[in-house]
Point group: C2
DNA sequence: CGTTTCAGTGTACGAATGTTCACTGACTTT
DNA sequence: AAAGTCAGTGAACATTCGTACACTGAAACG
């Protein structure tokens, strides 16, 4: 009534969250496929059948986790867009973009282990429905990234197709690094090394794209 | 005795192969984790306990499949190295390298669906032991590719570190495309589109690497 | 030819799985 | 204050799982 009381909907939402978290935690080794409704229920501390009050199947749970994970990923993209304003030369802008992107990646992966690992895992493994959902979301992210890139000075020469190809390359590479970052989370030296690799690759790719039309 | 006879070791090898093939086929949806010894046995047409005559666990089966899959991947790399000899300019050599690599990728993925899908899948999902094995093998492949790249004229400026970073980027991107190629195997238009994307990315990356030292 | 080896059989077991159904009791609504 | 809603319970089910064990019979061997 006053303040400590918990409304019924709040309670329900709380167990729903607990289920999602437990599923994320338990599927960390092995994909969603090796995740049993009963395991999740036990981890949450409810009886197996209670699961059905929130999700009709593991697949539906999976689709929810996909959406959640991509909220995290988009938050990272948003952060990556905010760069230091003290850029004078085009080259400084370039490095600023790369640094900001990789910093954002490292920071968000650190805070959101589970979501990034989930995306990397279920992208290729996982139930078909989930895999498809991840693929679709990734495509959207690539488009989003492509329009971001299109705002970089000097990118006017690129066709829409080029932009998508470039975005696809970047997204794929960064997902790989995200997974590596999760694995290396406990070893700071390793994290720094991966971050440096990501930076180098991003620079390579952008430089390559800049000199692009000169070839084909 | 004469010719139709089958020695005992041959018979054993035959069922062993059947088990490996069945496992590859059955794990196509969902990772190795969602693969039961009994499913495999039923698919092969033997009784469940017969499995143990060949592998002591699913993990061991998995490690064997990892080795097998990378034999396929290395075969692709070897093919990619053989390029048309009629290259005169440095630019023609470049395009020849890119074309040869992507053609090899498309051809081998077409013939070896299962192995490439297996690598893409178990790299992030799959039992820890298998994931580790895939990671290790990928590292070896990256080194191998790095020495290949080092033989390209104009690459003398790159440090060993640069080469590895570049190889890592290429391998990651190509594995992604391999998976996409498998999914699109039945739609030739889609296959062609993916191949073109792969070509474009490979060119971008190489061009980027060529203009590399000029920045950092 | 007699003996050994061993790939594959058949049974049996406890444990874990997804899903059903009728239930309870605290919160919400009237 | 009475009636209704509904998140969570608890028992029961048919399957499937990994694995232990004793076995069979044909190929390999001395």
């Amino acid at each position: 009534m006053t303040e400590t009381a918990e409304t019924r909907t709040e309670r329900k939402e709380r167990t729903r969250r607990a289920i999602l978290d437990a599923a994320l935690r338990l599927s960390a080794d092995g994909s969603l496929g090796v995740l049993s409704l009963r395991q999740v229920a036990k981890e949450v501390g409810v009886v197996p059948t209670a699961f059905y009050r929130h999700f009709s199947s593991i697949d539906e749970l999976g689709l929810t986790l996909v959406e959640e994970s991509f909220v995290s990923l988009r938050a990272m993209l948003r952060d990556a867009r905010t760069i230091a304003p003290d850029v004078d030369s085009a080259q400084a802008l370039f490095l600023a973009i790369v640094d900001s992107s990789v910093s954002s990646l490292v920071a968000h992966v650190h805070d959101d282990h589970a979501h990034f690992r989930f995306i990397a895992r279920e992208r290729f493994a996982g139930p078909p429905a989930v895999r498809e959902a991840v693929g679709h979301q990734l495509q959207l992210v690539e488009r989003e990234l492509a329009t971001d890139i299109a705002r970089i000075p000097g990118s006017e020469q690129w066709s829409g197709e080029d932009l998508l190809v470039l975005a696809n390359l970047i997204v794929t590479a960064m997902i790989g690094h995200a997974e590596a970052l999760v694995d290396a989370a406990a070893r700071p030296r390793e994290v720094a090394r991966i971050a440096e690799t990501a930076r180098a690759q991003l620079r390579m790719v952008l430089i390559g794209a800049l000199n692009w039309r000169s070839v084909s």
